[in-house]
Amino acid sequence: MKSLSERWVSPMNNFFTVVSFTMRNKLRAKSFVVTTIIIAALLCIGVNLPYIISKFNSDSGPDKIGYIQGNVASVTEPLKAYLAAPVDGGEAELELVGYADQGSPEANEQSLKAAIGSKEIKGYILVSDAAADDFPSVAYKSESMFDSSITGALRTALQAVKQEQVISNAGLTEQQKALLLAPVKIESAQISVTDEGAGKTAEQQGLALGFVYVMIILLFIGIFVTSQLIATEITAEKSSRVMEILVTSVAPLKQMFGKITGMFLVGLLQITVYVIVFVVNVSMPHNKSLLSGWNLNLADIDPRLYIFGLIFYLTGYFLYSTLCAAVGSIVSRTEDLAQAMTPITILSMAGFYIGIFGMSSPDSTLVQVASFIPFFTPYAMFLRIGLTDPAWWEIGLSLGLLVVTILVLGWISAKIYRTGVLMYGKRPSFKELRKAMKAYKV
């Protein structure tokens, strides 16, 4: 007597029929098309946002601040000089604009207010004399509240002016002064212990961090959202009872993996669309110059990261989607699905959060341990590969564990699926499920 699974041997074309049916239905669904378009549009906007913002800013040039000429000239004139030529060599953020003294403080303020009214300046400073040794106090007045970027810049500039004055009074030489004022430099570089010269510069590190961040979010969406969708579809097939006809037409295993593969291809297609939108937008001339202005170059990303991203997407997807398929198959009504999915939801959330919060300390024991737990490997190991330099055996071991888990869980899920799709009514307990498996000889 042959076992049931052996009896379900048939040509591969049924598998592809399921794959193509799954894909066509998904691609035709309005919700899918609309979501894809909306996310692509958001991506376009997001990528171009820095350029758009810089466009708005560059028109106005440095913000203009008014002051009264001769108002404590010992402070305002050096301040004006300092703001006009920042020490770090960048563009000037602020510019002091002098206004003639009107004779009385009231008249002075009046004229400055008029200047704000006519949009000549954003705000103005008033410097009041202080006691002999004290530095004069400065007031900044403008129409907007908490203009922290301007007050911040003013504070830095005033601090510099004050230091300059104090130092000059102390009778230091020019050399000493320069030494004192020169900023301390600290450079952080990531190095590789095993591979000389494989380290990353600060810019590359920043880039890698950003890339890993984006990839972990993409992994989460690709893995979690799609596999949830699979569970939902399977439960829907069950509750609409189309399952009864399906299982008498095609082997349950083929049906399950056909659906998983179909959804995977759809997901891949969706991600490809996003990547193309992203790359096209980034390589537009205006964005390219912006990126190179920040010393960022996408080509600097380690190509291994792309490959590992794809590997972890693939493995993570199959791990979670087979589990979700099994859960979806034992639930009879879509209302009960969310509850049944809770353990899987917690697992994938945990993996995602380990990935996100582990970014600040990719070397922590938590991340290291998590990278060997198959449910977290896609996030945690990817994080480690992206930000630190795990040994090859570590990567190999974690991937090996992941693949073994996929095979084992895939096998169990397939059995559950085979049994679950025929069980209606209340959600079966593990015991009932095992009993049913025995009865169905799966």
Binding site: R7, W8, S10, T17, F21, S240, V242, I245, L246, K435
Partner: protein, 300 residues
């Protein structure tokens, strides 16, 4: 070689026996009635025939061969609980199901169109299932079961939820399929459909096949216990005739339940002494009565 033969098929679910030593043979060009109360084991039997569940013992043979993927393609199934994708176009899903059973896309499409034409619902080709009435969904479901021209057809409650016109339409179609040599396993609770369609039947009760055989022979096994007397005048004292169980007054006559068949003759003599009879008939038991008797009696 009979298309479908079940031999001593049994199925246990844990402690509970779902089907016990079921024997059954269906010939080509025959509609076989599978009857039973809810939970009697009909669905389990059908699922075993469909290969969804494997029997614990006994064998199921299709044209003399055991179950395999080829047999699957010969099977058509109309489940009791109707199920289609509510939001998928009818042409898409019916062609999909036909493809899964080994048809090419082109053949499936041609077959679907001819079935839609047969049922006079060609306009549904591009519609979604959720847009159809229940009866029309049923027709689509039926098409999905027969589109690949299966040799063996399993119809679970084929006519439930249909209006009389559509019942006739589907009944006619089922008869045509039978006349085309298909082998049909048919389950229903509507006994009049069984009397009209089936040659052989099995009545299942609590997992056991209790009554089996030709419908005609089964009826003969059961005593005739009902007499119709037609008369213009009232007849007195029918109740007092020995062996009478119950008397019911009809529009123009009486219906009398009796214990034994020969009571009928006494009844006839008694009535003729009083008046002229326009009608006297000793009725065969209906399948409904046989069913209720078999299933109901042992239920107590």
């Amino acid at each position: 070689m009979k298309p479908l033969v079940l031999e001593q098929v049994s199925k246990q679910y844990g402690e509970k026996t779902a089907v016990n030593r079921m024997n059954l043979e269906v010939e080509a060009g025959e509609i076989y009635g599978l009857l039973g109360a809810n939970g009697a084991g009909k669905t389990t039997t059908m699922r075993m025939v469909l290969g969804l569940i494997y029997p614990d013992s006994g064998s199921i043979r299709y044209h003399g061969k055991p179950y395999s993927q080829e047999q699957l393609r010969m099977l058509g199934y109309l489940p009791e609980e109707r199920g289609m994708y509510p939001k998928v176009k009818i042409s898409d899903q019916v062609i999909y199901l036909a493809q899964l059973r080994g048809m090419t896309r082109k053949d499936a499409d041609r077959s679907l169109r001819s079935w839609l034409e047969k049922f006079n619902i060609t306009e549904y080709y591009n519609m979604k299932v959720e847009e159809l009435s229940k009866g029309n969904q049923q027709k689509i479901q039926f098409i999905a079961a027969v589109i690949h021209d299966p040799q063996i057809l399993i119809l679970d409650e084929a006519f439930s939820g249909l209006d009389p016109v559509n019942v006739e339409l589907l009944k006619k179609t089922v008869k045509e399929l039978r006349d085309n040599g298909k082998c049909i396993l048919f389950s229903t609770h509507r006994m009049e459909h069984v009397e009209e369609l089936c040659r052989n039947i099995t009545i299942m009760h609590r997992s056991n096949p209790v009554i089996q055989g030709k419908l005609k022979d089964i009826k003969k096994q059961f005593p005739r216990e009902r007499v119709i007397l037609g008369s213009e005048q009232p007849i007195q004292g029918l109740e007092s005739v020995a062996g009478v169980v119950r008397v019911e007054r009809l529009e123009n006559g009486y219906q009398v339940w009796i214990q034994r068949e020969d009571t009928a003759q006494l009844l006839l003599r008694h009535a003729m002494e009083q008046t002229t009879l326009t009608r006297f008939e000793l009725l065969e038991p209906t399948l409904n009565e046989i069913f209720i008797r078999t299933v109901g009696e042992s239920n107590e």
